[in-house]
Amino acid sequence: MEHVAGVEEFPRFETSKMGVWIFLFSEILLFGGLFATYAVFRALHFQEFNHDHQELNVTLGAINTVVLLWSSFHVALAVAAIQRGKDRALKLHLAMTILLGCVFLVNKGIEYSAKFSHGIYPWTSNFFSIYFVITGLHGLHVLCGVVALSIILYMAFQGRFSSTNYTRVEGTALYWHLVDIIWIYVFPLLYLVA
């Protein structure tokens, strides 16, 4: 049968990468649901959104945006390094990515505690409920990414990767980039134009 022959031509590494992409698309739709909620809340409570979003620290949000973009840059370089068989550069860039991921989480923690100390909680208003849900779920993704990248770094120290074997590095990097892309939308929608 024709389509079976097509499957055989499909290389194995491609299928594992495609698996990661399918997972990423399910993540897009997960956050898509939250963005839909955001759109509805914003449309129904426009005045409240306009007022409440001014409580957010744009400087800290912008710094975190750059931190996450910077980490994405390093994880891209980690993949580029191992594609060229450069093991030491792989570890260095992975370590930088993990460090920047932790910086992001610390900043997020500072932001949250500032909100709590001002008496702002998820149940304070519609805006802050969607703010805490989106940034909280995103933060959880960053945390999972940091853990996954640490496992990859550990495996790199065991010498498990080479220029012909780096599917796991690539898959984890793709996940990290997606977490970055989600933040690219979260930052303007919550901090800037709410």
Binding site: F10, F13, I28, G32, V40, P188
Partner: protein, 99 residues
């Protein structure tokens, strides 16, 4: 487990650097644009810049520009689903609660 050594997705280092610089520049731009009151244009402007940044990450950092039709097909499908998800939810909610 192995990746083919075809080298089809080897991308020069300067491209990664250029993309990162562009991403930071767009971040500055989006903050500046948001500071100017453009009325109804602020939101589409912010979304456009964000989409531009997301495309840069996708094409160059995630190597989408080297991917074949399978992965592009999945990407197109999820984005195709995303728009009605948000648009229909929004129109439905507005219909019920606002009018």
């Amino acid at each position: 487990m192995g990746h083919s050594g075809s080298g089809h997705s080897l991308q020069a280092y300067w491209i990664y650097v250029a993309v990162f610089v562009a991403l930071v520049a767009f971040t500055v731009l989006t903050v500046v644009v948001a500071g100017i009151d453009l009325g109804g244009v602020n939101l589409p402007a912010a979304l456009m810049i964000a989409t531009l940044k997301a495309s840069l990450v996708g094409l160059f950092f995630m190597h989408l520009r080297f991917e074949g039709r399978w992965i592009w097909g999945f990407a197109a499908f999820s984005i195709f689903l995303l728009f009605p998800l948000i648009a229909i939810t929004l129109t439905d909610a507005l219909h019920k609660f606002a009018w």
